[in-house]
Every structure is written in structure tokens, then in C-alpha cells.
Symmetry: D2
Subunit: 423 residues, 4 copies
């Protein structure tokens, strides 16, 4: 065990108690930066220096200012908060361990906008580290950051030779931070990238070395605008945005399947109109399309755009399609999968190490993986199993803290092994 | 009684036995012309001379040639048939009865493409004058032509002073002949126009002097063209014309009601695709829209066009919208309604004379009525009630022949009264 | 002029400044009751005594309590507020003027849940009597109550002999108060009922004696419940309530037109789902259907119910259809139309008195009219024209106060005339 | 080469010239039986003896009688035709070659209902063996029968020891014959089953030893019945079957994707209604659903049934869902794949032998494969590549006759190898 268990639990609980949603990770980034400085790193790029301009789904200024103020009240360093202004959160750090490959570890840092359980059998509530912000770390990103900081401490105790880069990525949950971090330039010299997730229905003691079924995704916010009219007195004056929306929903789900891979569509949140007696003037569809390959996703989204345009034409409305976020598909490279499998099998607490596993969803870590693969490197996305009472994104999600040091050890060993075993 | 009952029955049965659908009224026109020549008229305009170029829904050459040949075999004058080539059927005649107004009487002459009943209690079958052509006079146009010829014979026995014009209009059932006859020029000097229909659920002995609820109508034939694809192997190659059609049907019926009057839409006949395993490449909607006013109809049809275009855009198909026929709405003028009411009340066999009545449908006589009204004249559309066992357009429709001479008398008297009583 | 203009303006402005939406008319009812007591009435039935149990669209307790508290803070009599608990608002008063018929006057009292304009050219804003509650009298019910109180004061100055009953009806805007007031028993001895509205696009100086085109209406709140599922990982576990809703919207607007009269449908407010990546579990349609006759409305609503059920079956969801409010169609009786016309023509400020007019909408006054007509009485719905800068229900709606005394006078004279001129 | 090339070409051209669609393979079966008798087989089960009662998609008597008469005119043995009455076509033969396993070879025998090309560069047209029946062997079943008869001749020249069973299956194109042949009992003692297809976009010289991606399929014929109504006069009397159909089409394509495998839906042929002015009384959808697994197909079809029922409820119509044909998915067994691969690699004309390949579609050979696998046997579905100018099912499809003897040789060798190499 490279890092004392208590140290990791302390870190994880601190993060758990102060979750912040996408682009609002002010306290969180300040905490990460402070810890990294204590550990001692050779390079540290914060906020705007860790991201390109391609941020997606950034909230408005008022929302940002409110969370930044809360971070200040919670004790975050005001000077550092200044650097993070306008939601430029997250950071990239580098630790120089001698000659050798540049190896990246990517973890995400944002919480979810949901209330955490107050139930007695929910450990964070019982043990006093339940969320204080109204948001919740319901997807385990508190554990991910703990992995990141733990590996930073552990790496010097391994026989790793090379440079370790740590990517603390903001805004994963809105598929907003992966792209700007991928395009920041910091990935361009990375030879091997490890991304990590906790849980995913794998129990404590299981490690999955490579996730492979990432669906490429595009999230959109489509609005239809028509013209109001009194439903009783002058229906013909109305141009019905709700009819346009309903037509679009019907045809969106009716987009052809693609023979080159799975596709998904979802009109996850819709609405329109104001009153029973007014022909609805406005309506929206907040949704997403996914594809087993990026091409299948692109095809499906292009068809979705035609569906939206046609629905607007049919009802004499205008339409606006805003892309909120997207992420490509990706595959884990076999060489790194072997390294993680070996590292896991060498750990006394690992009961089961699986080469390939499933997530059945999307992740913007794929932007970083793709960037590394495009520049000749290798990447994998590993999963450290953990017993979690509630499902991901539910109010009773929790991480089994026994998996924290297991995760740090396996990741550190796999990273260390790159220098030895890779060509 | 101006014309012997037997004469009218003989005429009606001759027409009944040789029904011809729209633009195929070769034998019928030849018969009408022959009778008019026997009666003696002062002007006779046949086929192309009785119509403008604006014919709608004309069948193809092969179909026309086949019916013309049948007319020849049934004994129609070959020289006359020559004049009717290419489906230029129908005629306009004028009888000069001295100084006075020009008064028109419009009757329609086409049959319907349906089999006539062979039941024993169906009088035409029992009495041996059932259709010999496969088509059927299932809407009483055989009676209408009898009214027209009967009035031509009767008018000189009344004290009418003026010019009587008789309009034998083809292709009413496809809303195809009204417009070209209205635009032929022959209506332009008509002061008073009477159009007539038999039946319409009014019994023998009842006369309705003015029908008022004509719905303006547009009939369309819309086709969607996409691209085929194997439904199992390559669905994404398909552009689904049936989905476009279904989307259009859904939204067609969903067009807003109009506050200025009733509207109607109907996708009366639709189809698409060829095989279960091929993404459908083609689909069609054969339908109609109607409106209580011509404006309401126009509004509804414009919205229908948007619906079709949007459905095509949504499914990446092309669309073609062909207008097959249309007719405006119309109202009967009060002055002529009074004349018909008076004529009816003066007839011994009329039990009930009603000023205003309903048809609940569309008619292209409205083109002729509107033409006369637009040039300062008056028009009415009268109904001569008749007991009919089956409904209009059904296999057992039949006209009570007792209404034939009643109709001729009332129409002749109303026409005669124009000269006396109108300003 | 029976009542000083200033008195009427003062009343109207007081009401205008404290608008309360349906079933929340606590301050308003207290004010009306207080004024009626000052005027002196012979009977006064408040809240629960003025209504049957058939109240529709009553808000929840918390909402009611909040508005009641505001009424208390605004100075309403606490004892009276106690009587109005649970949203039992409105009242019925009777004034005994001797032998003669019982004549009713119905006015409505609720405001609308919308913000009032703050523009300088909006008189209530400029003159300082803009709404203080966040709601708005944007349909003129402040003028209606002024008519009611004004007539109560005026009636004794006319030569009316009989009993005057005043119906201050709550919750018109949600079609919720008409039915329970109609079934309260207080209408059962009314011989002649006058209902009144201000404006409706008729200018100051015009009076319409009888509105005739009330569309029968049913408002509904339909909810679909399916089952959530992760849109990427397990779409087949979802049962998509938004698809059910979209299907229902498409088919709702596609319900057949009816040959016996106009119909209307509107899905005025819809929504569903929560997040882009979750198959939506819940969706709703808040809408209405209308018909030119009650039968046409009933037909259309029955078809709507089938549409909702079918949409749920198609998507394996459950459906719940809640009727929020409804009102029948109604016609104004010719005898009362004459009385109002005569009264209007006898008033010096009336420039134009019209017998029949249009509203192009729905009103639950029709419940009261129908009740009186069903028990052998007569009813009319009159309109007192007023110049209004913005349309009804808009932020800049306002009443021309010149029409207040005109309205009181005409109504009082028409009521007085019942005793003299009716059989 | 076990069988002279000319012999195989002669057989194939004979079949090609007399294609017969599903269940109408009278001449074809007679020809196969006659050839088998000439070759000499030990068992021969014809028509009703080769099939269970579970035939699907059998045409009506008139259609069957017409094709049987044509077969008689084309020289088929009248006695044999008697045995095939009512469309009991196809046969099963067995050849006893001593001790050893029972090995099956399945080929299908029906043509497609489409016109064959007359183009000069279409070899069957140029060489004079174009279809004489109006139907066409556009999917290579003429080559399949040639493989079957060729292997029957060849097998005695190999060192095969065991029993060879030949399955000449009718009605593959309508997914109608696989199930009854699978349930005939003749498969129950088969240890190893080979099914074979020609072409599938693999060129001459390529052999694919095992097809694996059969999609399970269900074909359906759904009809909606409503009630007619005059679109102008009485729309409310109509119950619109076309609206029900359109609703069903929209929602059919909108059925959720399934996370356990690909699915497909197609409304391949639809129609409804008769005339523009009649509310459509009847409509149909002729379509199919497929799934990567039989479970996914079942799920999708169950959802389709709900979609149909809901569409009927929404439009107050009745619905009838008829399953026309179905077939499960299937996988080729690795052991037989090896045998075919080895046999192919041992053949001088084979340029490329592939273990696994794709068809991207459905086949009812899967019924026979599943039957054998369910009773403990093994099965594979091999493809003998052939250059084909037009795609399968098109008018210019043709088989490169060079692949005929290659196919016979590889199949015979693979069959012979079963006795030697299998446990």
C-alpha cells in the first residue's frame, strides 16, 4: 500500500462534502491545487491554462458567480479563485521522474445537481460528510480525484521512470470539459493515457482493465418558435410549436437504424406552450443521439437535423438547433489493457481482473483518449470496482472506501510498468 | 306538363344504359347533340368549342381511345366522335326566344366508375336498362340531361322571352369540367344561371330552390420519393417515403381549424412501398381539402403544402404536389331562389318547396355560378327531390321517374319567369 | 347617471389594485361583501353558501393559505376570511324591490396569474393603481364587479319592481366557478338572467345585447406514466412517456371535424422528461377541446379520450385524464336581447347598440344561463364595449373608465324593464 | 471435379428457365424428384411427407392451381403433380453410404415474383435460358438445387461413410418453408447440417465457411378497419383507418433500440382508402421486425403489437395482426466451419477461404440449423462466392457458372470429412 488508507479516506470525504456541478468546481479545483502543491509537482497548469477555448455548456455569469462566492465562503484561496473566474476550472500537473515515457492519468472532478440522501443507512449522512452544497458526488468523482492525488503521492515510491501527467478534468457530466482539455496541448506528448472510473456495477475487488463500448454522443437543445393565437377565437393565427415538437419527437425516434453499429436517440426533456387556450408559440427538445461509432452518431445526428427542419416547415415555425456537447467513441488499446490486468492480478485485494468490460454509455474521456491515439500513443479506460448501495446518479450512491487504496496501487503499478514493459 | 312523361323516361333510360365516366362521355355527348339537333337549336358548340383549355384530371390516351371505340360500337355518329377526340366532351347550345335576358341551365353528364346492382328490386336491372358499360349513373346525371333536353323542348311552350343557353358539362365527378366550361366565354353574357341536381336525400315532391353550403374544394395527388434500401442489411441507405407519407397524414389532419368557417381534410387514398424487406422508395396521398369559403379552403391547402414539404424534408425525400381539381364555394342568389320557389309552389305535384337547403359537399357548378355572379348576373343551384332507394354513388341508386316531368316543368317555369319578374 | 362616476372609478381601481386568481379571491370577496353590506341587501350568501360542492380546479392548501394570508395583510376582515377558508370565495346577494320577477345579474371576480405592464402609457401604472399582487385584472373583471355593485346601488333609483339577485362568481378563468354557482340553488327561482362582459374588442359607446357563439369547452390535464431507462445503456427498459405524449398531440389535433358545428382542440401546455440521457418516465398535456354545440364538444372530447388511451397503449404507458373544467354552449334569448337593445338605445352615451355579437370563445356563465333556461327562465349575455389598449389577457389590457357608468345605467334600465315589458 | 461442369450448367439452366415462387414450385419439385430418381436415392419423401403442417404464407387455391397447370403444360409428370396438390412442394432424400454420421445438406428451391432482364448483356437472355414463367431465380436458388443434385452425384465418389440427407426446401423467400421442414422429423437424426448460399457479394473463388449474423425475423400483415364517412358532409361518421395506419407507422419506427443487439423495423408496403372524398375504412401495413437475437426480435415484435393496438384505439378502429412468417437467429458451429474452411483450402480454384462472414439479413434455414443444434448436432451456413452482375433480387442477377462445380466439390469434401475428423 503506497498511501495510508486514512489519508485517502480523508481526501475523498473532503471532496464528497463539497460537490460542485460542471464548470462550477471552484472549491474543488482550489483543493486539488493546494494538495498538488503540498505533494510537490514540477508543472501546474490551472484553469484557462489547462483548457482550450472550446468549452461547452458553460452556465451564465450569475450562476458562476454564486458558486464562486460559496467556494470563497467555504475557505478556498481567494487568489486562486481569481484565476478560475468565469468557470475556468480544472488543472493539469506534471511530475518528472526521470527518463522515460510521458504517462497521463485522467480523472474528472464535477458533481451532479441533485440532493443527497439523508437516510440513516447512507454512510455519508450517518458519518457526517454528506454534501453541504445541495449538489452531490453521485457518480464517484470524489474517488476519482482521490485516485489522482493518491497516484501523485505513490508514483515516487514505485520504480516508475518517466513523466507523470495528471489531468483533473472539469464538466464531464455535461460532456463539456473533455474536448477543451483534449485540445489544450497537454495531451500531445503523452505516450500512454490511463482514464479511470469507479463502480459501474463492478464490485469491490474487481478491476476491469479496458472499457470498449463507449457510444459517441451529441447532446442538443432544439427550440421551435411559432406564433401564438387564441385557440377558440383565432386558431388559424397560431403557428403551433408544440405540434412541430411532437412531429419532431415522432420522427426523431423513427430515424433508421444503421447497419454499421448501434445507435440511440432520446428526447429526454421536452416542453412547450403556456396556457390551455393559447396555440403554443414555443417548444423545445433537450435530447441526445449516440452511435457505436462516431460515424454512426454523425449519421444519426444529421438525420435528426433534417427531422427538426422538416417539423418546423410542416408547422410554419422556425427552428434553432444548439449542440450542447459531444464526445466521440473510443477503444481501449490491448497493450495497456494487459498492463492494467497484470497490475491488478498482482494486487492481494483484487479478486477478479477482467480484460474487457462495458459501460453502455458515453464519456468525454474519449476526447482525451482519441487525442493520444491520434498522435501515436496508447490509451485505456479502466474501472476500479466498488460496492455501491445505490446506482450511479441516485441519491444513495456511495463508494466503498476499501476500493480507494486498491485503485491507487493498481493504477500506480500499471503506470510504473509502462516504462519497463512497453517497446 | 310540357313534355310527355314517356318521352322523358325514354331519354333518361337511354342515358342510364350507357354511362361514361369523366372526359369519356363520347356516346353521351353524341346522343345529346343528336337530340338537340332534332329539337332545333340556334347555336351548338361541341367539345373543344364548349371548353377552355383548363381541363383537369383528363385520363390518358389509351383510356380515352378505348371508350371512344365503345361509343362507336354502340352506334354513335363517327363524324361527331371525331370532333370529341382526346376527351373534348360536352356541349353548349342556345335557343333564341326573342328579346329578353340570357338565361342558362347547367346540367352535368358524366357517370361513375362503379358496377351497377343486378338485384331484382333494382328497377334498371329488372326493367332491362341497367348499365351496359361497366360504369354507372349512380348520381342522377342521366336525369340531369333529361331535365336539360326536356327544358329545351318545353321552353317554347312557355311565355319565355329571351335566350336560353343549355350547358351540358362533362367531368363533374372529378371536379374537372366546371372550370373549363366556366372559362369558355359562353357564360359571360348569361344574366341568370340555374344549376340543378336531383335527389340529395330530398324525396319526390320536394323542391329546394337554393343550395348554399357548397364547400370549396381542392383535390391533390401528392407523391413522396425517397431511396430504397435493404431493411435488414442496409437500412441507413434507405430514405423512407412511407415515413414521409405517414408524417404528412398525421400533420394534414392536424391543420388548424379556421375561425372564419368550416374546413375539411382527407387523405382518402394512400399507399407506398413494395415489399416487407425494402425501405419504401415511393408513397402517395390522394386527398382533398375543403373550406366553407374559398379563403378557408385556400388557407387550409397552403398549410397542407407546408405539411407535405416538411414531411419530405424530415425524411430526406422529394415531394411532388399535383392539383387534380378544385372548385370554389358559392351561394345561391335570393332573387332566383324566389323564382324557383314560386314555380315549385305553382306546380300541382310539388308537396313542399323549400327556399334553402344543404348538400354538405362540393360541386364544380360553383365555377359557372361564380362566373355569372362575377359578371353581374345571378345564379342559383336548385334540387328536384326524388325518392332514391340507395344513396348517391351506391350500386342501388335510382331516380324516381315521377320527378322527371316535375323537374322539367318547374325549371321551365322558373326560367320563363325571369323575363317577367326580374328588373 | 344613477351612480356618480367617481364612485365607480374608485371601486374599479380598488379591485384592479388587488387582483387574485381563481379560488384565491379572498380580499376581493371581502371587499365585495363589505360594499354590499354598506349598500344594504336583504340576503347575503357567502362562499360555501353560494356554491355547490362541484368546484373544479381548486389549488392546493398551501397556495390557498398563502393568498389568504396576503388578503389578511392587505386589510381584509379576518372573520370573513375565516368563512372563505379553503377557497370558498364569491357570494350571492338579493335585494327585495317589491312584487315582480326575480332578475339575476352575474359578474365574475377573479384575476389572471400574469404580471401587469409597468409602461408609462399604461394608465394603471401611471396613475398608481397597478396590481400589488403579481396577478392582474387583465380581462376586466374589476369592471364587472363595479357593474355589479353599481347596479345594486342604482336599482332602487329605477322603477324596478321585483327581486334583484347579484351573483359574484369566482374562478371564471379556469372554468371552475360557473358550475358550482349554477348548482347552488340560487338560480332556480331566477326568471331573467343578465350576464355581462366588458370590451371584447367592442369600443366604448357600443353595447352588444346578446352574445351567441359560446363554444362549449372541456379543459383537461392528461398525464402519461411510463418507466425510466438509461438512454444509452438500457433503452429497452424505458417506457417512453414523451413518445406517448407526442403521439397523443399528433392525433389530438387530427380528430375529425364535425359536420354539426365548429370544433377546436389545443394542447396548450405540454412537457415531459427530466434529462437528456433518461428515457422520459412522465409527460403531460394540459389542453382543451371546444365545440359549437355541447354535443360537438362531447364528441370531440370522447375522441380525445380514445386518442390518449391509444397513445398510452402504443407506448406501454398508463394514462390519467383529469377534467379540470368545462362549460356548455349557450344562446341568448331574443326577449332579453330586445330589452338590452332598448335600454342601450335610450342611453345618451351609447353610439351603437347591436343585437347579436361574437366572443369566439368560452365562458362558464353558460352554466348559469343554461340553469335559468332549463327552469323556464330567460337569459342573455351582454357586452359593454370599452376601448382597451392591449388585448384581453395581455399585460397592457385596460378598461376605459368612461364605460363604467354607461354599463351600470344600461344594465339597471334593462333589469328595470323586465317587470314592465315581459309577459 | 466430381461432376462434369456441363452437367451442372445444364441442370442450373433448366431450373433457371422455370422459376416458380414460394409454394408454387411444382415443375421444380418434379424436376428435382426426377433427377434424384435417376441418380438413385434410398429414401425419397415428397411434398406432404417432407413437411409438417406449419406452412406459412401459402397462396390461395386459384393461384396454386394456375401454377400447377403451367407446370403440367411445361411437361411435369401429372402423377407427381397430384402428390404436390395444394402447394405441398419440396422433398427430402437420403443416400445410404454405410456406417457413419447422418449429414444433411439444405438447399432452397423457390424463385421470386419479378420480371427478369431482357438486356443483351444479361447472359440468361442472350444465351436463351431466360425465365419462361414471369417469375425469376434472382437469388441463386437455381444454383442451390444444382449444388444439391451435384453433391448427390458426387458423394459416392468421395470416401464418405454415413448417410447423406438432402433437403430441397420450398418457400424460403416468404420465410414459409423452413419451419415446416424443420419440424418434419427428418432433421431429428441429423448429426451435421450444411446449408449453403451462393453469392452474397462474395466473388467467384471465395468461400465463406460460416455465416453468423442472421437476424431473427417476423413478417406481419396488419389491417386496420374503421368506418367510412363522407369527408365533406359527415366526417364525424368516419373512423379513419389511414390515420390509424399512419400513427402505427410513426410509432413502429419509433420502437426503442435494444441494448442486447441490433433490431430492425420496416413498414415495407402500406396502403389504405379508396377515394379522396371518403374517410378511409381500411388500411394495412405489410412489414417486418428483425433482431440480432431471437429475444431482441421478440421484444421488438411485442412492442409492435402494442403500437398497432394503440393506433387502433386512438382512432376507434379494430386491428388484426397476422404473422406471415418468422425465422430465428442462428450461429454456425466452429467445428463445421473448420471442415468447410479446410475443404475450401484444399480446392485448386478457391482463392480465398474465410471462416466467418456476413449476410446482414434473415433466412429460414435457421429453423433447420436450430433444430439440429437443439437435438445435439452441429450446423453451419456456408457461402460459395460467385460474381453476380446485378445484386440479389434484381432483374440482372446472375450466377457465374464457374462457381457451380467449385461449390459441389467443396461441399462434398466437407461432408465426406465429417466421418473422418469429427469425434
Amino acid at each position: 500500500m503506497y498511501v495510508p488508507r486514512e489519508r485517502l479516506i480523508e481526501l475523498r470525504r473532503a471532496f464528497h462534502q463539497h460537490p460542485e456541478p460542471a464548470w462550477r468546481e471552484f472549491w474543488t479545483t482550489a483543493k486539488v491545487v493546494s494538495e498538488l502543491r503540498d505533494i510537490g509537482v514540477d508543472e501546474l497548469h490551472i484553469g484557462r491554462e489547462a483548457l482550450s477555448d472550446e468549452r461547452l455548456a458553460v452556465p451564465d455569469e450569475e450562476e458562476l458567480a454564486s458558486w464562486r462566492e460559496r467556494a470563497r465562503e467555504a475557505g478556498a484561496d481567494p487568489d486562486l479563485l481569481e484565476e478560475l473566474a468565469d468557470g475556468w476550472t480544472g488543472c493539469v500537473a506534471a511530475i518528472d521522474c526521470g527518463e522515460g515515457p510521458t504517462v497521463g492519468l485522467r480523472v474528472d472532478i464535477d458533481g451532479l445537481p441533485r440532493e443527497e440522501s439523508t437516510a440513516d443507512d447512507h454512510i455519508p449522512a450517518r458519518e457526517g460528510f454528506r454534501s453541504e452544497t445541495g449538489a452531490m458526488h453521485a457518480c464517484g468523482h470524489d474517488a476519482h480525484m482521490t485516485f489522482g492525488l493518491g497516484v501523485a503521492e505513490a508514483i515516487t515510491e514505485t520504480d516508475f521512470s518517466g513523466t507523470l501527467k495528471l489531468f483533473f478534468q472539469p464538466a464531464e457530466e455535461v460532456i463539456g470539459g473533455g474536448k477543451p482539455m483534449a485540445e489544450s496541448g497537454h495531451l500531445d506528448d503523452v505516450d500512454y493515457l490511463f482514464a479511470v472510473h469507479v463502480g459501474l456495477d463492478y464490485p469491490t475487488g474487481e478491476v476491469v482493465a479496458g472499457i470498449d463500448d463507449f457510444l459517441a454522443i451529441t447532446q442538443f437543445y432544439t427550440t421551435f418558435e411559432g406564433h401564438p393565437g387564441h385557440a377558440g377565437a383565432r386558431p388559424e393565427e397560431g403557428r403551433n410549436a408544440v405540434q412541430a415538437m411532437a412531429t419532431a419527437v415522432q420522427n426523431l425516434y423513427g430515424i433508421e437504424r444503421h447497419s454499421e453499429g448501434e445507435s440511440r436517440v432520446n428526447a429526454g426533456h421536452v416542453g412547450g406552450g403556456t396556457a390551455t387556450n393559447i396555440i403554443p408559440e414555443e417548444a423545445f427538445i433537450h435530447g441526445e443521439v449516440r452511435g457505436e461509432t462516431t460515424d454512426v452518431r454523425d449519421y444519426t445526428f444529421e438525420r435528426a437535423e433534417q427531422v427538426f427542419e422538416g417539423a418546423a416547415v410542416s408547422h410554419d415555425c422556425t427552428v434553432d438547433i444548439e449542440i450542447e456537447g459531444d464526445a466521440p467513441s473510443a477503444e481501449s488499446d490491448a497493450e495497456l489493457v494487459e498492463l492494467v490486468t497484470d497490475a491488478a492480478r498482482g494486487h492481494p485485494d483484487v479478486e477478479r481482473a477482467t480484460r474487457r468490460g462495458e459501460i453502455g454509455g458515453s464519456e468525454d474521456a474519449t476526447f482525451l483518449m482519441q487525442r493520444v491515439q491520434d498522435t501515436g500513443g496508447l490509451a485505456t479506460y479502466a474501472c476500479i470496482g466498488t460496492d455501491h448501495p445505490g446506482g450511479h446518479h441516485t441519491a444513495t450512491f456511495d463508494v466503498d472506501e476499501a476500493s480507494l487504496s486498491l485503485g491507487v496501487d493498481v493504477l500506480a503499478d500499471a503506470i510504473a510498468a509502462t516504462a519497463e514493459t512497453m517497446p
